[in-house]
Symmetry: C2
Subunit: 316 residues, 2 copies
């Protein structure tokens, strides 16, 4: 099959072996996939990943154990958990220590014609959600994860740090849920687009400290340091950025100001599918470009261009 | 008066000007004081502090506004707040942006014959609490602060990282409140003493990951990194260490494992005074040495010796 392979440079291969579903797994034909900041970090060496990246996708069932009918359009939760450990039994398979993670850890991902996932990871996609909307289910679920972890007060002053893909999606999700966050970023043109989507925005250099909650979506190792500067004493930072590199960090203000930091990663798919199906959330204006899989390296380059939001791959 | 002055090296001066209490302040004759890890960090350049350090003390009222009778034995909360700002009105003067902090920020401290503090900072010390116990009120209040910030479950596996002064006090406070934490440290002799005080202990190299809550009391900039290694996914880290230096930190595990970090600093004095008065908590076995103020530099050296717990100064 055709696939994009990280070795660690992104390279398209046309002779990659088709995956074979294991017990309890389905074979999925990928229809469309989204490039995420994590994919770019993997190409920079994050997680020492070798293989096919990609974890945001819409596909259709093409074979396997048969829990879903052939041809059914699906999205898939990316953590393939053991189902037996302490975390799995607590419904926290996303933290299963034995897990593989689609396109990130021990399991080939979605930038290919086919992938495999456990049947229990598959979530049917309603007809009302077209492919180019369905590829947003995974990152939107990651945004909804915030609500599973903390209680955001209705009157909180919320800052989203970073005007990239993730910051924009977190902003749209918070707005859809009735909050009015401020998005702080470095790119005037991107902030203009977000303003046109009803979001409040501000150039980073104009931000003043005192936010109740700062959500770091910078994707940069130094994002936490900047968040510490901008949050009020006793405030809260939600850390969404994963970066390949370490960062020099002065933690004293975190202790002196008794700040809380909450690491936040993947979320359940159900709230994301519901939000997209209801129409209260439509991130399609964030699509900057659509490339065929054969041009995936160019798509990676476009996704790494700070002028772009979301770059999609069409798998044909 | 006689005083220990950081410039930044610790130096005893016998001609330091007596402090004059401002409006609403009392003049306090210091009776006894304790040396804390923060004092050692100040001497290493933390906060760029110049002046008299010391914030753990027992004194007696010697003049001033007269809210308390002369001669009354007291301890004093260390944050001198403005009383008018948003934080002060929310009873969080410890986070007042206009505050001075005794012996740490803009206000001379307790390693001297006299100090001044606002009347509202003074807390009467019951006769049942002798000076060498009363000097522990401030750090014990800092340990009780944990209960003001988070809910510790009765069955949590709690690790206290660091077998120094702060780790030992946090351990004794948690034990007094019905918890059974494990203290992990590098010093077998100190761990033996803590074991004799009924605490569970373990050498750091024998610790295995999986704790629900890790309380970093290492006082080291890399304490957070070690805590991240030892806490379970979705677990909690309470950060008590303040260090003068920055540290290289890889934050990806914090996001991947959705760990929470809570910075924790000073606490209210009332719970600490109550605990000491009730007898359920007696940290006096942690006293390693008592020096006169004239020998304060030697006392600083002793406090910096990792074999020692608490070093006190007697002010005569």
């Amino acid at each position: 099959m055709r696939a994009l392979v990280l070795d660690p440079e992104p390279l398209v291969r046309n002779d990659y072996p088709d995956p074979k579903p294991g017990a309890g797994e389905s074979l999925i034909r990928v229809r469309m996939a989204g490039i995420c900041g994590t994919d770019l970090e993997l190409a920079r060496g994050y997680m020492n990943y070798r293989g096919i990246p990609g974890h945001e996708f819409v596909g259709e069932v093409a074979g396997g154990a048969g829990a879903m009918p052939l041809g059914r359009r699906i999205v898939g939760e990316i953590n393939a958990a053991c189902g037996r450990c302490h975390f799995c039994l607590a419904n926290l398979g996303r933290h299963c220590p034995n897990r593989t993670v689609l396109g990130i850890l021990g399991r080939n991902g979605a930038f290919a014609e086919y992938l495999t996932l456990p049947d229990r990871n598959l979530v049917e996609l309603p007809d009302s959600i077209p492919d180019e909307l369905g590829v947003f289910v995974e990152p939107i679920a990651a945004a909804y994860e915030i609500f599973e972890q903390v209680h955001l007060g209705r009157n909180e002053r919320i800052l989203i740090l970073g005007d990239g893909r993730l910051g924009a999606l977190v902003g749209l999700v918070l707005w859809a849920e009735g909050y009015d966050p401020l998005i702080g970023g470095h790119h005037a043109e991107k902030l203009d687009l977000l303003t046109a989507l009803s979001l409040k925005t501000e150039l980073q250099q104009h931000l003043r400290p005192g936010f109740d909650t700062v959500i770091d979506c910078t994707g940069k190792a130094n994002g936490l340091q900047r968040a510490i500067e901008l949050v009020r004493p006793r405030g809260r930072i939600i850390l969404k950025s994963t970066a390949a590199v370490s960062s020099e960090l002065n933690l004293a203000p975190l202790v002196i100001n008794e700040i809380s930091v909450v690491g936040s990663r993947c979320g359940r798919f159900a709230p994301a599918v519901e939000a997209l199906a209801s129409g209260k959330l439509d991130p399609r204006p964030l699509i900057s470009a659509l490339y065929p899989l054969a041009e995936a390296p160019a798509a990676f380059a476009a996704a790494g261009d700070s002028e772009n939001f979301k770059v999609l791959l069409k798998i044909e």
